[in-house]
Symmetry: C2
Subunit: 225 residues, 2 copies
Amino acid sequence: MKKAVVVLSGGLDSTTCMGIAKEKGYSLYPITFHYGQRHNREVEQAEKVAKYFDAPEHRVVDVSFLQQIGGSALTDESIDVRQGGVDEDIPATYVPARNMIFLSLASAYAEVIGAEAIYIGVSAVDYSGYPDCRPEFIESMNETVNLATKAGATGGKFEIEAPLIQMTKKETIEEGLRLDVPYDLTTSCYLGEQVACGECDSCLLRLKGFEEAGAEDPIPYATRG
Amino acid sequence: MKKAVVVLSGGLDSTTCMGIAKEKGYSLYPITFHYGQRHNREVEQAEKVAKYFDAPEHRVVDVSFLQQIGGSALTDESIDVRQGGVDEDIPATYVPARNMIFLSLASAYAEVIGAEAIYIGVSAVDYSGYPDCRPEFIESMNETVNLATKAGATGGKFEIEAPLIQMTKKETIEEGLRLDVPYDLTTSCYLGEQVACGECDSCLLRLKGFEEAGAEDPIPYATRG
């Protein structure tokens, strides 16, 4: 059975990608990048999603080290280098070109397990501010990945798939509902609590998407009692 | 003063890159990737080299997490995920496309500090087995990096420089000697002891390079008493 690595955050978009890759006939190998503690909310969700899709393996990778590159330098160069796992809830600091970094790591994993495809749930529509969400980035990255890896260099070929790249949130949700994606296992809330706040930008975008898709979001929200 | 990020291992090639970038008029911002303990031999050497070249800042990044992707999966899938810093001398496990990963991280750092160039000491001559040492990889990566970053997307441009890519070890050493690169601060030994073994592949390649360049390697070797 052909394999696909799926960059899985446990949120709505990446979980939709799991459904899309499954429909294409892939055996799914999700990889989850997290900051700090191994068992935080996002990782728990990602694990549930991985289990739902019968993933043979689920890699969970601590990328706290990214803060040694991005975070502290952006805010204060005199800050000591933080070690991953010290703080319980280090926020996902902005790091330039994060999708490039994640796709590099996912590609290495794809080579290790002999996967043919790498799925990532980026959208150029809803998050157009990030250069590494654009189709031209994904295409270029795909070429680079194939030049960088043995599989690519010897005739095998990876495909980076970004099926949501031209979709609005509404369209993503419609696609996910068609595929019976378990949205009840996901949240998108920035706050990371058990119950989504319903007020942050991410919750609002999600709720608007469900509303436009004419569907009910199956997760509870603090604002809806 | 224009800035360059230099991927610096503390070995001969990357230290030569420091000399080359300095001659080009860059202020040098080395970034060192290491596995496990922060103060191992390679990191100490890299720190000395950074100091020699008056680097305003030296990022030292723990990439032990790479073993969560590459190492254990290659050898034994049942091995527990190892946490960085637990073992003192975890070997630098083979990870596919490591240069792609390192250049992604170096590019993120370059964007954070506003650097124009990223130097990496790969050679397609001496290490031709690795696909991500080839010129076509470097060129493709350069395009991808510029698409992935804000600096690239808004007209600024990074250049990935791999000045040793067509050089033999002899030619690299000749270039380094011309530039007064402090080879006494570097070692290339796989064993990572205070005194280089003189017998591993890396020591032998280095010694052969110095011999062919008609120069004396300034570091002590166990085999030379």
